[in-house]
Symmetry: C2
Subunit: 401 residues, 2 copies
């Protein structure tokens, strides 16, 4: 029997307990041993909860118990999760986490400590909720040189954008509705400004190159400036708008990472990823594109991913599971060097100026009063910014081919 | 250093050699040791080939060489692959294969022999080409009770159906074109009759339930009877037609598996899987739907999957990798018990009869001379067959919701 502690009895933590209970038979079979929850760490009491008697308030009780081999860290945030995780790993206890903030900030250090202590720090649930993506990257695509990852990694913004597209509604009203339905937080900044997607693409990018991509270095732009009119134009040219988290390595070895709204066309595999669903496209030099799709958040999907890590740890007690993520920081190339086409909106009075500056513009036929829009030829972001300043534009959205 | 032999230097086998050479750095890093190809088994000579001096014609040379730890079986077919694989496993050599025929026929026996000899029989490449699907099922969805798998598992038929839809062309002419372009074999039976997809869903279904689903027991219907008119109707009601390989477990524990053309609607995750792409939808009781998408065939994608198995074997020399597939046969429930809606075409003169027999039919507005079509309410296949016989229908396609 393998004894497990759950740290943080909130949404994901209680989901972990539920998954372990409900799918006991499958989980024990795949673990090769019975998995038992010994402690649940939380500051609160849970009178009447079926696991009431497992709740403890002092982390020492868990860290000092030799029988606890695996810990699920579902607390979130850096403090005190970082300290608890480090001490658990130093004590040789594997930690499985859904905490993207902590993984993006201290991932390589915690992985190193784990490996030095013959245990594991696993984080399948930190990206894409229940979608298996960390393990496919680490265990499946091992014969590939992965050179690009493109994901829809945030359910809230994808829900808002899908809704805006479908209903022709504006950002503010759609956000409000999403908040009322519980799909967006009362303080929605982390989602709508792209910070959440930024942490997640930092993790995936680090695994892609085996070194550390600092989330602070990633250019991040949210969806707050996307309007109804943008979708009118997108629709007119057979495209949609998605918040993409992207990282890619150029042929010259330059490494880029960014989060921003992009226009994508109907033939793009991410086009049909709607609502709260997430998906990750991975490009490898032998396989080409592969895609992983599913529920990017939610109690049970996320908990299922944490428990899949528990199973992996249970099967590798005393052994290190392959994970390459060195502490050495990757020097990202500034996105102003990246080449692409741009969707641009300009007020009607600047039409002749715009078409003079953007020589190869292909105008989009759509009926939006007082303005017009076009798609540029391919150019670097730097070139584009210069032309945009010279013209005086309303707004622009990048195009992902 | 870990020495590898490749058996069969055809398309996939030469791809394996190419992948190991091209991505040497990544592969050696992830394997933890250098991977070296020692032998290539083939009846032919390959004068001028860079690996000419590794080619051998006698399997004994490989089976008797203690240094060879891993064998890639890329020969295909049962004979002599079955015999070679068995002897390799008995000698403690792991085998990685792309041979779906052999895996579907002798999978559980070969896995058992491997485990008894502390080596592994891995077959990621046997289903979905380069799409990671076996490993996600075995290692990632370990906290799930998987209750349904639905896949587009054959590139040739998906190419033909996509082309028929796009161009309004008939089956025969599209098949001919696919053959000319090399997307279909000169003898296309295995693809267009669904036999290839049947082998693949047998493998996935077996992994889903941990027991043996015999491919011979799976109801299999190909795409040869699909016509232009079917796509006219499909288009008229926002659907398309795909050859789906499906298996699912009902709440009462009945287990079904089948291969057949289905109509699916725009909101189905498999709707956008076009051309030579394949995808597999997996439904779990905690995660809901997840989907795995990519190139289902082709030299390098398939070879990449074989080599990912080599890496896995290299990391587990002398250790058994988890795989549950017992020899015990699953008793499949006949599909006549399965409930669904049906798309039905009937000649105009039988309209009143048809609408009398199928009371709740919703007629599809489309202009096909001399006939009309409708979608039935939900009923078992048995009930449907009775009504169809009573009416005298032109054809029917099952609906997947």
């Amino acid at each position: 029997m393998i004894q497990v502690a759950v740290m943080g009895y909130g949404t994901v933590g209680s989901g972990v307990v539920e998954v372990i209970e409900k799918n006991k038979e499958e989980i024990n079979k795949k673990s090769g041993e019975d998995i038992e929850i010994k402690y649940i760490l939380d500051l609160r009491e849970f009178p009447g909860d079926p696991y009431e008697n497992k709740v403890v308030h002092d982390v020492e009780q868990i860290l000092n118990d030799q029988d606890v081999k695996i810990i699920c860290e579902t607390m979130g945030g850096i403090k005190p999760a970082y300290d608890f995780t480090k001490r658990a790993l130093l004590a040789g206890k594997s930690v499985c986490t859904s905490n993207k903030e902590l993984v993006a900030t201290h991932g390589p250090e915690l992985i190193r400590i784990a490996h030095e202590n013959k245990c594991n720090y696993l984080f399948e649930a930190s990206v894409g909720g229940g979608i298996p993506i960390i393990r496919p990257l680490n265990y499946s695509l091992t014969a590939e040189k992965v050179d690009a990852i493109t994901g829809i990694l945030n359910g809230t913004t994808n829900y808002i954008l899908s809704k805006m597209e479908k209903e022709g509604a504006g950002f503010e009203e759609t956000l409000k509705e999403a908040q009322e339905k519980g799909y967006a937080e009362r303080n929605p900044e982390a989602d709508v400004e792209g910070y959440d997607a930024c942490r997640k693409i930092a993790i995936l990018s680090s695994l892609m190159c085996g070194k550390n991509v600092k989330y602070q270095d990633i250019y991040t732009e949210g969806i707050t400036k996307i309007t109804e009119a943008d979708f009118v134009y997108a629709h007119a040219c057979g495209k949609t708008i998605k918040l993409l988290a992207r990282s890619w390595e150029d042929k010259d070895g330059s490494f880029y990472a960014m989060v921003a709204p992009f226009m994508i066309s109907k033939t793009h595999p991410l086009f049909m990823v709607n609502g709260v669903f997430n998906a990750v496209c991975v490009h490898g030099n032998m396989l080409g594109d592969s895609m992983y799709y599913g529920r990017g958040a939610g109690k049970l999907p996320t908990a299922s991913a944490v428990v899949s890590d528990v199973v992996d740890c249970a099967r590798h007690i005393g052994k290190v599971i392959m994970c390459f993520w060195d502490a050495e920081d990757v020097a990202l190339t500034g996105i102003e060097e990246a080449k692409r086409r741009f969707f641009v909106r300009v007020s009607t009075e600047k039409e002749s100026k715009a078409l003079q500056v953007f020589e190869q513009a292909s105008v989009i036929e759509a009926d939006v009063p007082g303005e017009f829009a076009f798609i540029t030829e391919e150019m670097t972001e730097k070139e584009f910014n210069k032309k945009a300043e010279e013209t005086g534009i309303i707004s622009r959205i990048r195009i992902e081919e």
